[in-house]
């Protein structure tokens, strides 16, 4: 009785422990620090991958280098050491690339460091152009001396015009360089970098511009305002209709030509910034005209002049390209075929921006670049990894007289790709799996066959029989019970009451023999395993639900009373035992039929 409360208490404790363990290990099943990495106030850093620590140690020297590089470069340009300029420009590019990589790696593409990077890229471009411009300027100076010595006034005029164009370009570059000062100096000061070299570079740049301006003034005065050559009677004049233009507008140039020769209009060439832009067309009223659409011109002043037959030059005119704001409108992204489709338009106040690059950013990283169509629209399908993302479109306007713009940001959620039902790799997809499955089925079948065969009554192996020392079985019993399976056995199917004298029935011999026979017969008919080990009660229990159960149980009860209870075999008991035995044996025969 004491065992029950103890068992209940221990069961309750075990169940409680299991519940507690289950609560801890519910999700995920296996504990890992990563699954427990976040608390309200802190994160479990042991569960997070380590990163390189002091990364500002990489950024600060880069910023100092990028502030110092222009100063050194402008000085070298000023000294006309073009080999040195080429070398320094390459070094400058390399340092700039390092910053680009760092900004991207540190995911700072939208930071003020990114502004610094952009200003630096602009400086790199300006100084490259300045290097090219001053190099050409020096070439013009050499050519000027040569043509002046040879008295080639036409080429001198050409040089003067190109010089004019170069001067304006270098002046524009200087203005652009000054525009970067704010970002460069502000960032430099913030990072405690020395900005004096950068400020000195501006002064040196100014000196280069002054040198070019002075040189051009001298050249113009030496040429004697040589706007016309080829004879006093020849004259070529041009005018610009609208001197301030914006993106996609036309620069309209009109001109007149007076010459004693026959005019061949196809020989009147128009130069914008010293680059041939096209030939002027002769209209019905004998005026020349040319239209140039503004698309990739930098904002600022540009020079125009015309040349007829390579010898008659017009005066130099200028026009100003203004910077227009842009609007980049993107529609909410849509999922389509496992990709995110983003579409929108890019336009100025007046016109769409065509063939312009639009960058698609996801979480600040470029996922795609697309060009706008003639209508300024764009459409791109980008593959973005599953999870929550913020996407937007960006127009950087690098080579356009336009301000950059960006679209509204959209938060999107990309679900994990669901495997289509038809493509689900089932267990049968792999031949090895099929083989393992087939082998296991075969092994199971073989095992089942042998098991069933083993269970057949006729094939039950003889079980060892254990007897108490005082109830030793006769030799006959031993021989019967140890007969090999399937061998015929001579059983007394019926025992008449006369065959056994009640007075002579001995609990240790005849009655035991009857029980053994009955047990063996029942075991064979009903396929019991190890029949020799069945006690009377076990035999009764196994047969209780059968038709013979009543007779067998009656016999086993009488047997127990007589043999174990010490009551002996009385007349009444004897009859009952024999009746039960016979009834059981009859019923056992009936099972076969």
């Amino acid at each position: 009785m004491r065992r029950l409360p103890a068992l209940l208490a221990s069961s309750a404790l075990i169940i409680t422990c299991l519940v507690l363990i289950a609560m801890q290990s519910g999700s995920p099943l296996l504990y890992s620090p990563r699954s427990d990495a976040l608390a309200n106030d802190h994160v479990n850093t042991a569960a997070l991958p380590r990163v390189t620590g002091d990364r500002s140690a990489q950024v600060l020297p880069l910023i100092e280098d990028l502030l110092n590089s222009p100063g050194s470069l402008v000085l070298t340009i000023k000294a006309n050491d073009y080999e040195g300029v080429a070398r320094e420009l390459e070094e400058y590019r390399q340092v700039s690339r390092n910053l680009d990589r760092l900004v991207i790696n540190l995911d700072m593409t939208e930071s003020e460091l990114a502004e610094f990077r952009k200003a630096n890229q602009e400086n790199l471009h300006i100084l490259t152009e300045l290097s090219n411009g001053t190099q050409r300027w020096e070439e013009l100076k050499t050519l000027e001396i040569r043509y002046r010595e040879s008295g080639d006034s036409q080429m001198l005029t050409s040089i003067t015009y190109e010089g004019e164009s170069l001067q304006r370009k270098i002046e524009d570059l200087y203005r652009d360089y000054l525009d970067q000062e704010d970002v460069m100096i502000r960032t430099g000061e913030k990072f405690n970098a020395d900005t004096s070299t950068y400020l000195q570079s501006e002064r040196d740049f100014r000196e280069v511009v002054s040198q070019v301006e002075t040189g051009q003034e001298e050249r113009v005065s030496a040429a004697g305002n040589g706007t016309a050559t080829g004879g006093m009677e020849s004259r070529l004049t041009i005018d610009i209709i609208d001197r301030e233009v914006s993106y996609s507008e036309f620069v309209q140039v009109q001109g007149e030509i007076f010459t004693s020769h026959e005019i061949r209009p196809e020989e009147v060439d128009l130069f914008i910034d010293s680059q041939k832009a096209g030939s002027m067309h002769m209209g019905n009223n004998l005026t020349l005209s040319f239209k140039h659409v503004v698309e990739h011109e930098r904002a600022g002043t540009h020079t125009v002049f015309a040349v007829y037959s390579g010898s008659l030059f017009s005066e130099i005119r200028t026009f100003l390209v203004k910077t227009d704001p842009t609007m980049l409108v993107m529609e909410p992204p849509a999922h389509e075929g496992g990709k995110v489709v983003m579409m929108g338009t890019l336009r100025t106040d007046k016109t769409p921006v065509k063939n312009a690059p639009v960058v698609i950013l996801s979480d600040g990283k470029i996922v795609s670049t697309v060009s706008t169509s003639q209508e300024g629209s764009f459409r791109v399908a980008a593959k973005i990894p599953p999870g929550d993302h913020t996407v937007k479109a960006l127009f950087e306007a690098d080579s356009y007289p336009l301000y950059p713009s960006e679209s509204e940001e959209f938060k999107i959620f990309i679900p994990e790709p669901a495997t289509p039902a038809g493509e689900e790799p089932g267990i049968l997809a792999n031949p090895v799996h099929i083989g393992i499955l087939a082998a296991s089925i075969c092994v199971s079948c073989v095992a089942a066959f042998f098991y069933l065969r083993h269970r057949r009554p006729g094939s039950i192996p003889p079980a060892p029989v254990f007897h108490l020392p005082e109830i030793r079985p006769s030799d006959e019993e031993i021989s019967e019970e140890n007969l090999p399976s399937g061998s015929p056995i001579e059983e007394p199917d019926r025992i008449s009451s006369d065959a056994i004298d009640p007075g002579r029935i001995e609990p240790g011999r005849d009655l035991t023999r009857l029980f053994s026979i009955l047990r063996l017969a029942a075991s064979r008919k009903l396929a019991f395993l190890h029949p020799g080990s069945l006690t009377p009660r076990e035999l009764c229990a196994k047969c209780r639900d059968l038709a013979i159960g009543n007779a067998i149980c009656r016999f086993t009860r009488g047997y127990e009373q007589a043999v174990y209870g010490g009551s002996g075999v009385t007349e009444e008991n004897r009859e009952m035992l024999l009746d039960s035995y016979n009834a059981a044996m009859e019923n056992l025969e009936g099972i076969d039929h």
Binding site: S10, L13, H42, G53, D54, S56, V59, M108, E110
Partner: protein
């Protein structure tokens, strides 16, 4: 034989169950708890402080007015009443040192009460300079000023706030920002700048240190791994003065399961110890008397 084994098996099972239950209910995963040996507890720090003979202070009104002690207030919660603030101020101005560690702006009331110009700002401080791949794992470096943690080259912070005022002792690198939009990234309207995370201020003859990140004292941050000097920083604090007092009246480090608190109440009070021993003797006597009566 089988029958005689059953009570023993049952007894063993019950014993195992009871031990498991006791272990379970006596352990805790509470943030900052000194009884929490997991990554977010402060058991490691408290072990070190115990080794140095730290005195746990349950009531601030018992603080000495003058002396050369260091009071460590780690991760406080709840309001300090005017009397406690006055006592703390007296303690501080009497030449003692207070190291106040909190990332909550609520504690600015106490700092104002102490006459401090230091203020805690609970913002989402992030940095490019980090030691784990998470924006909250910010690195701080020693400033020019300050004397706390001399020789420590960097502190590993964990979801820190920042402080303004006082003399900066440790600050983040210039590549740090307040992640206002919570996108874990640096965006255009989030300027880069250095943020002070440990500040120092003199008050009378005493010194107040404010550390804006209690998480640097949790077990995982005290693990002396490569480049982790937080444990050295803790050591420098707790060994700064020979008299180390640790606040347990407002600190979240004192929070723990009922069983442990009960055991500690008994451990820390002689009267409670005597009461428990008396109770045990009474129970045993009662048992013996009852059994004898039944036997008779």
């Amino acid at each position: 034989m089988t029958i005689s084994r059953a009570p023993w098996v049952a007894a063993l099972l019950i014993l195992a169950g009871v031990i498991t239950l006791l272990l379970h209910i006596s352990a805790t995963t509470m943030d900052y708890s000194r009884y929490n040996p997991e990554w977010n507890g402060t058991s490691r720090l408290f072990q070190a402080m115990d080794d140095r003979g730290a005195i746990m202070v349950d009531r601030l009104d018992g603080l000495p007015g003058s002396g050369d002690c260091l009071l460590f207030i780690l991760a406080p919660e709840g309001d300090f009443d005017a009397e406690e603030i006055a006592r703390l101020r007296l303690f501080l101005e009497g030449g003692n040192t207070v190291v106040f560690v909190s990332d909550r702006e609520d504690e600015n009331t106490l700092l104002i009460g102490l006459g401090s110009t230091i203020a805690i700002h609970n913002e989402n401080l992030s940095s490019v300079d980090r030691y784990a791949d998470h924006p909250a794992s910010v690195l701080a470096f020693p400033s020019q000023k300050g004397t706390l943690g001399t020789g420590i080259s960097r502190l590993l912070l964990n979801n820190p706030s920042f402080v303004e005022g006082g003399d900066s002792v440790f600050e983040t690198s210039i590549l740090s920002w307040i992640d206002k939009d919570g996108n874990s990234r640096l965006t255009g309207d989030e300027p880069l700048q250095k943020y002070s995370v440990v500040a120092e201020e003199r008050h009378g003859n005493g010194t107040l240190y404010v550390i804006a990140d209690p998480s640097i004292f949790i077990n995982v941050m005290q693990n002396p791994g490569e480049g982790n000097e937080n444990a050295a920083f803790s050591d420098s604090i707790i060994s700064r003065k020979s008299c180390l007092l640790v606040d347990q009246s407002h600190s979240r480090t004192a929070s723990g399961p009922l069983v442990i608190r009960a055991i500690n109440v008994v451990k820390e009070s002689t009267i409670h110890k005597m009461a428990v021993v008396t109770l045990i003797f009474l129970a045993i006597s009662l048992l013996i008397v009852t059994r004898r009566k039944n036997h008779d």
